[in-house]
Amino acid sequence: MTGRASVGAAAGLVFRRDLTLAWRRWDEVAQPLIFYVVVTTLFPLATTPDLNQLRTISGGVVWVAALLASLLALEALFRSDVEDGTMEQWVMTGQPLGWLLLAKVASHWVLTGLPLVVMSPIVGTALGLPFAAWGTLMLSLLLGTATLSVLGGIGAALTVGVRRGSVLLSLLVLPLAMPLLIFGSRAVGLVMDGESPSGPLQLLAAIFFLSLSLGPVAMSAAIRISVES
């Protein structure tokens, strides 16, 4: 034992632990991605196969699917750690809890958000999204899913101690997620109309940094309440 672990080292451990756990249970991790692909590929089947009509709404469809897929995975974010007593140990490490939770959220994003971003051009193309909009779609999804992970982290931390948390969680998080959806799909829409998407993208970035600064405090306050029992 070479002395006290630094905050960075502790956060790094949390991050690596979650990747390790995900590797052991990759069927769970794959769920959101499968959902995302299935929803977007089935959307034309469920609605209309006409690419011209699809194209106008493709950005929005990809965005909604990404939003819902992220939500799918959020519910379990803290649950097992609270139930098996890991979380109460984290509260008592003497390390700033907010940073540990942020590291956990980051690994969650790497596991669920990032794959959605990476897959989005393929999925979008299947819906008729033009090549020119790829960059904007990916950038907006990058910011959007990351923000959603933080906001969802707050929601998950609040609802982890209550019954039927999943529905309550979406009730809390979806309203906060609506602006993301609006700006994200507007950015894609703008670029498809040949205009500059920088306005909505900047707003997305602003929301991201806002939630990043609020997230750790709110999450750690919520988790402290949830471990009380």
């Binding site: 451990l13 098996d84 007593g85 509260v91 471990v227």
Partner: protein
């Protein structure tokens, strides 16, 4: 050797669970080199008391102080010096015994692989180090949780029925661990139903009723 002169004091703690007044004016005082054993029948409030001390449950009134400063405002400093073993073992079933230690004890102390192995060896499950915690027997899980304590580097141990699921050798091990820790200048609190260091000189008792 641990820093000396540490003192944990609880003064007139009152705590409620739901609409039951569980703890009524409970006070105690433990110093470096002492072990406080908390006894009492099922449901009397031992776990409640330990969790209040840890700051995991709010007390209605009363104060817990560590090194003569109230814990309330300075919980990170307090937590850095204490380790809690609850009814739950706080293990991740899908991680191996080694990984469990590295990822949980590692949050507090920078650990080398040999530290982890030494702790596993001490609690007698070194040969099971690469099994996922899910495959360990009940007693082996408890031993793994004890290994975490050894690696915490904490001066204050708070143990809730540490000998649960342990065999006779395991109980002797817990007694040895506590004795060594306390003789090194540490403090320990434990709730227990069985005999635990009952004849040792460092023992103090608190009976809840």
């Amino acid at each position: 050797m641990l820093p000396d002169g540490a003192r944990l004091a609880a003064r007139e703690i009152n705590a409620w669970r739901g609409d039951r007044h569980i703890l009524r004016d409970v006070s105690f005082d433990v110093r470096s080199g002492e072990f406080l054993k908390i006894t009492g029948p099922n449901g009397v409030g031992k776990t409640t008391l330990l969790r209040v001390v840890c700051g995991l449950l709010p007390a209605e009134s009363g104060e817990v102080s560590w090194r003569d400063r109230p814990v309330q405002g300075a919980s990170d400093e307090f937590h850095a010096e204490m380790a809690y073993l609850g009814h739950l073992n706080s293990l991740k079933a899908d991680l191996t015994a080694r990984e469990n230690l590295r990822f949980l004890a590692g949050l507090r102390q920078a650990l080398s692989d040999s530290d982890v192995d030494a702790a596993l060896d001490r609690v007698g499950i070194l040969s099971r180090g690469d099994l996922p915690a899910r495959s360990l027997s009940a007693g082996q899980k408890r031993r793994l949780a004890l290994a975490r304590l050894l690696l915490s580097g904490a001066a204050l141990w708070i143990l809730d029925e540490p000998v649960t699921n342990l065999d006779t050798a395991g109980i002797a091990l817990v007694e040895d661990l506590i004795r060594e820790h306390v003789e090194r200048g540490g403090l320990a609190l434990a709730a227990a139903h069985q005999r635990l260091l009952d004849d040792a000189p460092m023992l103090r008792r608190l009976e809840l009723q």
